[in-house]
């Protein structure tokens, strides 16, 4: 073939394939419309087929032409509403279109291809349909002289003649014309009407003698000029119709044009309504061709771009030229400012250009989603399942490369769904589901990625079955499997060598496993995740980057090397100052974690995992030495010691080795499934980097996504965060380690007291239970009034007594200040205030309160908080000390209480609290007995040694906590109704709720002496 011919052929092929793409979708739509035929749509398909036929004919591609021609006939019947496109018909049309597609993709096979099967099937449809044609004879004249009756016309001509016309590629029509009224047909007079007929074909027969007709016409005789004509022409029906402006139902196709194959003659004209034709199934139903869903039958090297994008590019090109000229100009004149401006201009234009050029490659994902309508339809038929396909977000755009690449894996997933996921109609109805199953294809944007979802409402995947299969196939050990969550078990299907299908069907089991699906998406920079609920359905979620080549990234430094962390994985940057390291970085075995808000994140140190050796120059010898610092998390000193060191160092900078290694810098990243932190030595800029692939020898290093060239020309490696996680984060180990840390934590959480730290005279620090404080006020010194030895102030229209620590205890008095702070609390329902010089902080701390050291009225003990000696205040004692009249004890109650033999059981694991509470309970006149934890308390109850009338119990205790103790105590018959008061450091409705559920009567704050005593008296019915 000459080159021109070749290029014409190529054009035709490209165009034809294009047309075919559109046809398939339209056909499915037409099928769905059923009897409600959308003429415009059918016309569209018809025109497309027609165009292909035309081109094929021109290039002498006979087979294609033949098939198209027959298809046209069928489509013609459909659009004339003579045929309803049922399922079998549509299937036939689709199959024959596939044949054409196949021929087009390998055009060299065309000449020798055998399309007889396709033609036969198509012709069957035609035969069945045309057996009942559309012609309805109107009230034509009877037999006129020398003319023939309408029915006879055909016979007059004879089948041989008709055949010969047909072989010559003609159509033969029978129709009625009234020469008396030529204008109806669009002609000014009878002569022109007749002449047009004679010019375009041959009149084979007429109900009027032709000569007579001619005479009549020229004479202008309009009587009796209506004739039936049998007319042979190469004009096709629609053209012919147009020529005569005849409606389709008035033209009877006596002979249809056929290029080869059997000829079809119509039988006697009969009036019928449009029929639904069922082609005979004499030919064995060939299975629908395995259509691999590609974006094109073969990837063409052309792309369609919207004009607006091109216009944008043109505009940008213009701006680029201007900016370049400006830059050249400013360089020549060495005008730094102008150079700067130009550089910025260029920067902006380059970004815009890049974005626009990328967008030319973007195609809507609907292009590939819509292909699945055919897949779902065909597979549904084959498997006997009813499935509908719902597509959401087809306008979401992806790079052309990506669209082409996801076709295969998506096909596999959809096929899996159809094959294993969705149940048969019976099975679905048996569990009360809709008979028609649904597969949903969703595309949407999410944080710089495109998310594709394939979900079905089928049977779901049972994680237990997966586990069993995995263990059977020795993919994982039973032990590891035990600890896996359901999600992790489901994700096992992505491991190579895995298939839960009991038999491998040819539809989905062709060696394309889910592992290939996962690696395909991984190669595109994406990830895939599976979630499922048994009986409800399964969803596969794929995340893909929007573009392949250019990614925004954060540059980081590890030793002297620079790496890029893709922005899309980056969540936040964290800097741990040296004095918080011990608190926030926890280590269990080899696993290191960062405490970030409520989370424990596993950490990877880039220097460690990549084994990067860093050097420093020894200040003495000047030689390069290997820097072997300790692990970043290894701090032998406590955080507070470190703080102290820092403060010291500010005064005394030491040499490099003993100096603190500075803060720890962590980049928190996520793969979508796992969140973890990367420890680096420094954060640098964010940049848009061009991702260049690494050579095949480096493909093993899956933790590198590629490399880029930095501004200074040096290559820098780009991390693949998923690869990092895969290589160095072992899920099982992380889970274990996390749990052990959390367990330790919860133990440490016990007996955390919420305290408020205050300052008094002589820089002395005090602490008071936060739960007892109602309010803090800042008060001018002038407002404080002194009457005798007592202080008070006007507060909210009442006189409020004020106390100071030095009023009851041997401490220094408050300094002279302009303002004082008053800490308000309640005694006997009345609000009173404690004066201090400063409010320092609130803390939650394990109460290590030493009672022995500094015990005085008003001071319960001492504690070391934040490295300071702090006196823990007894607010009640302070108040009573200065206002003894507030003491609750009355003569009466003391007597009553003395008579009570029963005891109050105080359960608390802290010596301090046990003794404190015991003290004030006894002070109030009650008898007490104590226990260190729930188990011992329970034993005590069971032993019956003491008569217990009431229980005060802490919650957080070792061996058996307060709630469990309460539950157990209530099971003992004599204690099932005993009043149990839970004492805690801070009220919280959640904890309270759990307590009440366990059987606790009420909650009180541990050091709220007043309230506790009040309640004790209440329960003992003491006034």
């Amino acid at each position: 073939m000459s080159t021109t011919d070749e290029s014409i052929l190529k054009e035709f092929l490209a165009e034809a394939l294009d047309h075919l793409e559109g046809i398939e979708d339209s056909l499915l739509q037409i099928e769905a419309d059923g009897a409600n035929i959308d003429e415009e749509l059918v016309n569209k398909v018809f025109r497309a087929v027609h165009t292909i036929k035309g081109g094929a004919g021109f290039l002498n591609l006979q087979k294609i032409s033949q098939v198209c021609h027959t298809q046209e006939n069928i489509l013609n019947l459909v659009r004339n509403r003579k045929l309803v496109p049922t399922n079998p018909i549509t299937t036939t049309l689709l199959i024959t279109l596939d044949t054409i597609k196949g021929l087009l993709s390998d055009i060299s096979l065309e000449a020798t291809a055998d399309v007889s099967a396709d033609l036969e099937r198509l012709n069957q449809i035609l035969a069945a349909a045309e057996g009942l044609s559309e012609y309805s004879p109107t009230s034509s004249g009877g037999v006129s002289q020398n003319g023939n009756s309408s029915a006879d016309l055909k016979n007059v001509v004879g089948s041989e003649v008709l055949e010969s016309w047909q072989r010559k590629g003609n159509w033969v029509f029978q129709f009625r014309l009234d020469f008396a009224d030529p204008k109806t047909y669009g002609y000014t007079n009878g002569e022109s009407l007749l002449s047009v007929l004679e010019k375009t074909g041959t009149i084979l027969a007429c109900t009027l003698d032709l000569q007579e007709l001619r005479t009549k016409i020229s004479a202008g005789n309009s009587s009796d000029s209506a004739v039936e004509l049998l007319f042979a022409t190469i004009l096709e029906p629609d053209l012919f119709r147009q020529m005569l402006r005849l409606p389709a139902n008035e033209i009877h196709h006596v002979v249809t044009q056929v290029l080869a194959g059997a000829m079809k003659f119509a039988s006697t004209p009969v009036v019928v309504a449009p029929v639904v034709v069922v082609p005979q199934q004499t030919v064995r139903e060939a299975p629908p061709a395995e259509v691999a869903v590609h974006n094109n039958a073969e990837p063409t090297d052309k792309i369609k771009v919207s004009l607006s994008v091109i216009d944008n590019l043109m505009a940008l090109a213009g701006e680029l030229v201007l900016a370049r000229n400006q830059l050249i100009q400013s360089v020549t004149t060495k005008d730094l400012e102008a150079i700067d401006r130009s550089a910025r201009q260029l920067n902006f234009i380059t970004s815009e250009l890049q974005m626009n050029i990328m967008s030319t490659r973007m195609q809507p994902v609907g292009n590939i989603f819509n292909k699945f309508r055919r897949v779902v339809r065909d597979m549904g038929q084959k498997l006997g399942k009813q499935v509908q396909l719902v597509i959401v977000g087809e306008e979401v755009e992806l790079d052309k490369n990506i669209i082409e690449a996801i076709g295969d894996p998506l096909t596999h997933i959809v096929r899996n769904s159809m094959d294993h996921g969705l149940e048969t109609v019976e099975a679905r109805e048996a569990v009360g589901k809709n008979a028609v199953g649904t597969i949903q294809l969703v595309a949407r944007h999410e944080a710089g990625m495109v998310v594709l979802e394939v979900s079905d409402d089928g049977a779901g995947i049972d994680p237990m079955r997966v586990k069993k299969k995995a263990i059977e196939k020795a993919v994982i050990t039973a032990q590891v499997a035990e600890n896996m969550t359901e999600k992790e078990l489901l994700n096992l299907v992505f491991l190579p060598g895995f298939s839960t299908a009991d038999k491998v069907t040819d539809i989905s089991g062709r060696g394309v496993g889910m592992d290939v699906v996962r690696t395909t998406f991984a190669k595109l920079g994406g990830s895939v995740d599976i979630s499922s609920a048994v009986h409800k359905g399964t969803t596969l979620q794929v995340r893909l980057p929007l573009t392949l080549a250019i990614i925004p990234a954060l540059m980081v430094r590890a030793a002297e090397m620079v790496f890029a962390v893709p922005q899309v994985n980056l969540q936040e940057l964290v800097r741990i100052p040296p004095d918080q390291v011990k608190k926030r970085i926890n280590r269990v075995g080899d696993a290191v974690f960062l405490r970030l808000r409520d989370d424990l994140l596993p950490l990877l140190s880039i220097r460690d995992v990549l084994k990067i050796v860093s050097y420093y120059t020894d200040p003495e010898t000047g030689k390069k030495q290997v820097d072997s610092r300790a692990q970043f998390w290894d701090r032998r000193k406590s955080d507070s010691e470190v703080s102290q060191e820092i403060r010291d160092q500010r005064l005394n900078p030491g040499d490099r080795r003993t100096r603190m290694s500075g803060s720890i810098k962590i980049a928190v990243v996520t793969t979508g499934h796992i969140r973890f932190g990367i420890v680096v030595d420094g954060f640098l800029d964010t940049e848009e980097v061009v991702l260049k692939p690494l050579g095949s020898h480096l493909k093993e290093c899956r933790f590198y996504a590629g490399a880029t060239i930095l501004g200074d020309g040096r290559p820098a490696l780009i991390f693949d965060i998923s690869g990092l996680a895969e290589r160095w984060l072992n899920i099982a180990t992380i889970q274990d380690a996390r749990e052990s840390i959390q367990k330790k934590e919860s133990k440490n959480m016990q007996d955390l007291q919420a305290l408020i730290i205050l300052k008094g005279g002589g820089e002395q620090f005090y602490a008071a239970p936060l739960g007892l404080i109602t309010r803090i006020e800042q008060v001018e010194a002038s407002r404080i009034e002194k009457v005798g030895e007592k202080l008070h102030m006007q507060y909210r229209n009442a006189i409020m007594p004020l106390y100071t620590v030095d009023g009851v205890a041997n401490v220094l008095p408050l300094p002279e200040q302009e303002y004082y702070y008053v800490v308000l609390f309640k005694i006997q329902g009345k609000e009173v205030g404690l004066m201090v010089s400063e409010i320092v902080d609130t803390v939650e701390t394990k109460a290590n309160i030493d009672q022995n050291a500094y015990h005085q009225r008003g001071i319960m003990g001492t504690s070391i908080i934040d490295n300071r000696t702090t006196f823990v205040l007894d607010l009640y004692g302070i108040a009573i000390g200065q206002s003894p009249e507030l003491d609750q004890k009355t003569e009466e109650s003391t007597a009553v209480l003395a008579a009570i033999e029963t005891k109050v059981l105080v359960v608390d694991d802290s010596v301090f609290f046990r003794t404190q509470i015991q003290k004030f309970v006894e002070d109030a006149g009650f008898k007490t007995v104590t226990a260190e934890d729930g188990q011992l308390a329970l034993d005590l109850l069971r032993s019956g040694e003491h008569q217990i009338s009431m229980i005060l119990t802490d919650i957080e205790m070792p061996n058996m906590d307060g709630l469990e103790f309460t539950r157990n105590a209530r099971t003992l018959p004599e204690y099932k109704d005993i009043p149990i008061m839970a004492i805690t450091s801070l009220m919280g409705s959640d904890a309270e709720k759990r307590g009440l559920e366990a059987g606790v009567n009420e909650y009180q704050i541990k050091l709220d002496r007043e309230k506790i005593i009040e309640r004790l008296r209440f329960y003992h019915k003491v006034k």
């Binding site: 090397m561 990549l610 084994k611 990067i612 260049k692 692939p693 690494l694 050579g695 095949s696 020898h697 480096l698 093993e700 290093c701 933790f703 590198y704 590629g706 490399a707 060239i709 020309g713 040096r714 290559p715 820098a716 490696l717």
Partner: protein
Amino acid sequence: MSTQVETSKGLRDILLFNVADSLCGIDVLTIQEVRKDFEITPVPLAPDYVSGVMNLRGEIATVFNLALKLGLTSDREMKQSKVIVLKNHAGEFEGLLVDDIADVMQIGDGDINNSPGHMTSIRAEFVEGICRQDEDLVALLNLGAIFAKG
């Protein structure tokens, strides 16, 4: 007396270069370029025979430590001053880090002898054949084996 330039088949131009005391040669037609100005960025955890990557006019080229790959050592410190850049069938650029470039020599098929293995210190699988340049032995390298994975 004219030097007959044999353009018929059999004659090849070979680039000679030094790697750790050995003289090696590869067909000039396989070579993209030779670089004397380069900076190699090491790739942590890459196979040991990969020295790193370099910037080749905007493309990333993997640089191989030829001495290591061939199993050669030297008492002196290796100069490693040149990179011979080749392009493989996948379109990737690959570089061989060598000590120095020596010469270009034209040889015919007949000049190549099969290497009996012990003639050079290079591992046998990497040597296609031996030829002579004056007094010296030149080991013609089997690039396929050198760039094979593993």
